[in-house]
Amino acid sequence: DVKVTQSSRYLVKRTGEKVFLECVQDMDHENMFWYRQDPGLGLRLIYFSYDVKMKEKGDIPEGYSVSREKKERFSLILESASTNQTSMYLCASSLRTGSTNTGELFFGEGSRLTVL
């Protein structure tokens, strides 16, 4: 069965702390994504990676960075957490889009981060 695992379901951090959110997929997918989900705003793309060590900014990258050292692992880093980064963070993966692949996303269960 397809699996995307986010190691931390719930985190509480203080303003200014460095935060790491980890995501691992076991499907050998090339693409991995980090989204932020807020009520009434849907999902917004933070960063995207299409290969090891490759990354692209999404719609809201400010205040975030990412790391992809291995194909199966994609980390989201908040260098200095702020209260406006309190949110649900969703990791997803997909095959590289091609003629026979529609780019369906497979999601983890989310990491709910509270910054005090």
Binding site: V4, N31, E56, G103, E104, F107, E109, G110
Partner: protein
């Protein structure tokens, strides 16, 4: 540029009655369209997808959606709601341009919360 509008933020139905969740899209390309469902405290799960084959798409759990190009719509329906259908539903459009490396950009709607009452 592409966008998707979910016309209702909340929909409430009685168990056993039909469900209609509305979605309109805008895309410069021939789009791929998806509906995802999110149950409380869970990630998103694919319900169904349209990729330029049949315009009536059947998904899991009895849901279906019809692609109407003339109306730029992709509404989600189910003939008879069940309590387990209570969840948030997202309409998603994937266009032809966007992210490099073959990861075409997806745009999510703001979601429709479905409530099912006894």
């Amino acid at each position: 540029a592409q966008s998707v509008t979910q016309l209702d933020s909340h929909v409430s139905v009685s168990e056993g009655t039909p469900v209609l969740l509305r979605c309109n899209y805008s895309s410069s390309y021939s789009p791929s369209l998806f509906w995802y469902v999110q149950h409380p405290n869970k990630g998103l799960q694919l319900l169904l997808k349209y990729t330029s084959a049949a315009t009536l798409v059947k998904g899991i759990n009895g849901f279906e959606a019809e692609f109407k190009k003339s109306e730029t719509s992709f509404h989600l329906t189910k003939p008879s709601a069940h309590m387990s259908d209570a969840a948030e539903y997202f309409c998603v459009v994937k266009g032809g341009g966007g992210l490099t490396g073959g990861g075409n950009k997806l745009t999510f709607g703001t979601g429709t919360q479905l409530k099912v009452e006894l």
